[in-house]
Subunit: 256 residues, 2 copies
């Protein structure tokens, strides 16, 4: 019940939001009750699901900083079975405002505790930083899913991310296994992609998902229509990839 | 003398580091003395120029947090005339450690004041966040260069970035003009790229650089050799684009 998965990688632009939206939508298509929490001040997961940011009074920021409940923030999305907790630009301030709070890293975990039972899975889309927002996601998470582009700079950030995970395990005596490493924007025509993918498979071994997400312009177009790929272009290679990923996710999750 | 340019955009993976490295190298090739400061804890600009991160005792972190001077951190790079101030993973902690410091946003500006005279231009590669590190860069900068991918999510972050720039102007009575908006990873075969580019040109008008950086695998390969594109593949379209950008940069900068 209510397994929490953080979608995180401090390297920017590696496909965190695209994966959070499309995996959440594909899981919901499997008759599962899914919650997606947008923890990025940019609010890309919110807009990518067609949910309005501007007219909103409250967002995940208010749940972190005050006693607003997650239930009260829940928004429907174009996908049946997928609920979103939206973000907004106030979230930028949370990193500074939480610094002196006694339980600054566990605010999100406390809030999620009250809604665990209503969902099968809770996904958290993280910002591109190892900041207090991402730490809140890691402390709240039962496992972490790491999207990675097959490019040189993407390799660099891995050791910092693994260090942060190790720190969360030690300071919060919190297991936080890696559910999987997902290769995104995969372009098998280039040597660079194949070389980096080989390095990643050597390093992470079985933790690398079999499913690979191909580079596909349809994925980049879908958010401008406020739709996940499953609804925007269900027969595309990208939609098939995320449907396969959802199946592999469920298999891996059950043996964690 | 010593004009400071922040290369910033909180959206991740838009080509900030690639632009900072290759513009710096192209300017250095014009017989100018260039300093590149790596202000991102990921340290991609440091590795992308072949400078070792691990063996290092001190980095930009020490200059921000203690009385270490920038001069003492200067590292040679493969490019004649281009000096780097390296980053390292300690920089992640700077955001929290600077919070209570009285002059927390102007640390970098103070440090740069002592080396202004030794360089023609000082470029700062920013992390993908509107955090204290990026604020330090904006307060220290004479102008900002904004790399943008022509994709839907890239449009979203613009208003937050412009708000932050406006806040810096007000609170620090610091005129921070936009030197230019650079379209990166431009793929003119897709409608999405052309549509987003049109939107950006409508919005930013003349602030958009004429020079556009094409999507090119050679650019993504170059950092794994620790070289800017100018040295890795000087006859590539990408190298030509950054050489053109350097010329346009100099023209724009002179009329600021
Ligand atoms: N497989 C793919 N093929 C093509 N484009 C993609 C793919 N996945 C993501 N994109 C596009 O690449 C860009 C970066 O992806 P996305 O925003 O999901 O990454 P992110 O890691 O969430 O970025 P940030 O670090 O800013 O949060 C977006 O414009 C997105 O539409
Ligand atoms: N014009 C281009 N064509 C192809 N690949 C590019 C281009 N520019 C950058 N890249 C690659 O895209 C990825 C993202 O670029 P880069 O790391 O420079 O962006 P960034 O904005 O600095 O990211 P971050 O937000 O993590 O700091 C890198 O792997 C880089 O090699
Ligand atoms: Mg994102
Ligand atoms: Mg970068």
């Amino acid at each position: 019940m209510g397994k929490v998965i953080a979608v995180a990688n401090q390297k920017g632009g590696v496909g965190k939001t695209t994966t959070a939206i499309n995996l959440a939508a594909s899981l919901a298509a499997n008759e599962l009750r899914i919650l997606l929490i947008d923890l990025d001040p940019q609010g890309n997961a919110t807009t990518g699901l067609g949910v309005d940011k501007l007219g909103r009074e409250q967002s995940i920021y208010d749940a972190l900083i005050s006693d607003v409940s997650l239930e009260s923030l829940a928004q429907r999305t174009p996908c049946e079975g997928l609920i979103l907790i939206p973000s907004d630009r106030n979230l930028v301030a949370a990193n500074l405002e939480l610094v002196d709070a006694p339980d600054r890293e566990s605010r999100l975990r406390q809030k999620i505790a009250s809604i665990h039972g209503s969902y099968d899975y809770i996904l958290i889309d993280c910002p591109p930083a190892l900041d207090l927002l991402t730490l809140n996601a890691l402390v709240a998470a039962d496992a972490i899913l790491i999207p990675i582009q097959c490019e040189f700079f993407a390799l660099e950030g891995i050791s910092q991310l693994l260090d942060t995970i190790a720190r969360v395990r030690d300071s919060f005596s919190h297991d936080l296994p890696i559910l999987g490493v997902l290769l995104t924007m995969y372009d098998d025509r280039t040597n660079l992609t194949r070389q980096v993918a080989d390095d990643l498979r050597d390093f992470f071994q079985k933790q690398v998902f079999e499913t690979v997400i191909p580079r596909s312009i349809r994925l980049a177009e879908a958010p401008s229509h406020g739709l996940p790929i499953l609804l925007y272009d269900p027969r595309s290679k990208a939609a098939e990839a995320y449907i396969r990923l959802a199946k592999e996710f469920l298999t891996r999750e059950r043996v964690l």
